[in-house]
Amino acid sequence: MISRLGKLLPDKLARLAGLGVLAFIVMAAFAPLIAPQDPAATDLFRRLQPPAWLDEGDWAFPLGCDALGRDILSRIIFGARVSIFIGVVVVLLATVIGVMAGLAAGYLRGATDRLISGLVDVLLGFPYLIFAVGLMAMMGPGVLNMVLALAYKEWVVPCRLVRGETLAARETEYVEAARAMGASSLSIMVGEILPNILSPVIVVGTVRIAQVIILEASLSFLGLGVQPPTASWGSMVADGRAFILDAWWVSTFPGLAILLLVLCINVASQAVRDALDPRFHD
């Protein structure tokens, strides 16, 4: 009974989390239709208005208002766009670069490997956030610059993974068979090795999306990310910092949104891993 529960529970949980991720994506996509208020509309009469269920609350502004009287729920809904966009775009960009670099380093070895692995080691030497802060300081704030600043270092993650998997795959007999056929290095990397190492890359990618969302929030919290009046969860948390004792809701709800989305992605990535593992098929 307990063991059956233990088997079913992660599966159910993963599905629930998957639905949660889907809900966030739908929310971001249809933000203008869902949001009850204009996320940028200020109303100083509603300054720091508490959530609806507290005294002085108003159900038109369910989660209350921030210091400029903007609806927090609407800003969270619009903020999901920034978080999901940056998370997905950065990881996609990093995966494309990382897979190419990792395949080249792992299959070609020699000078190519030394160059790429050396670069990876140097990048790993920097703390992620400080590296991104430095780049943002040089390039200036903005969504595009934030994508670049995060992708500059994020590609290291898939690159190391792919290099290791490629090192193992290049010694297999099916790769040797392809070489015996006279296949070129490029066609072996893309045609023989890549399909076999893609599942761990996808699994790691889903987990990294959650990480990048946290980093985006951190950069926005530091004021280096998305610029006002565009809503971003990280900058919303930062905005509420000054009033945390008087108006806890300003920081708390966007913080909870970050927590919930990251949690859903992490749990759902387990389902992705199971789905890609051939042992769970036929």
Partner: protein
Amino acid sequence: MTALLEVENLVKHYEVGGGLLPRLLGHKQPRVQAVNGVSLAIRAGETLGLIGESGCGKSTLGRAILRLHEPDSGTIRFAGTDVVGLDAAAMKAMRRRMQIIFQNPYASLNPRKTVADILAAPLRLHGVAAGPALRERVMAMLAAVGLSAEHASRYPHQFSGGQRQRIGIARALILNPEFVVCDEPVSALDVSIQAQIIDLLARLKRDFGLTYLFISHDIAVIGYVSDHVAVMYLGQIVESGPARAVLRAPQHPYTRALMSAVPRIDRARQGEPQIRLHGDLPSPMNPPAGCRFHPRCAFATGICRATPPPLRQLDAMHSVVCHHFPEVMP
């Protein structure tokens, strides 16, 4: 008849990591002497059986001949062409004529490709066929190795070991090669399947006019398939000659020990003493001086420890690398 493949003095050593400190101190890197000065010749239409225990370098030799592992020195002449000197384009063309069948049918097929894709890849790569002609050729090859058209759209994990080996054979033969290295093609299979695959290889050899280098550690298999036999020990060939002569009347003490290790019902009746080899194969990183076999040889004397033995011809075909042959006869 001239030889289709002639290998002379082939050498393949591998550097193994000796650590940073020895390297900084300028010490010589330890090297695995996998193949150390091997010469052999295979005539068109014949099968050379290459026999030896695990780790003696037989697979490395097979791969070095195909330049899957680049040889360090020596020459490989295939139908009069020096294979070692070929540039990339010429080598690619040469690969159509020389193929390999692998030992492990579970590792030699890409798990993400269907059988049709696996067999079509070499044809596409060399631009041999496309469209319906390509499909026709894939189906014909499947039939030739005893598989049916319905197998084409399946993935390797849906097949048994014997069927997978048939797919591996089909892949090696689809470009109509002249020469095939069979690298222990049946060692990973059940005994009942081994016979089927050996018969298949024999039939294909006849039908396609193939020449085999058949690598195995199984003396019974080698005796069944080979016209000539070469015995390999620690990176060197110690005895070679016609299969009958080498297997029936082995000369080199190592070959004798190998033959003596084959279980036979009638040994007691014939009163043959069994020769036992003591100790393990020495490390190919630091092979014994003189004759490489001397630490395990029952007949070893002072000269064996000091000087490498010469190649001696017993007759035109049969040669032995030993100091004491033919004087030593128990």
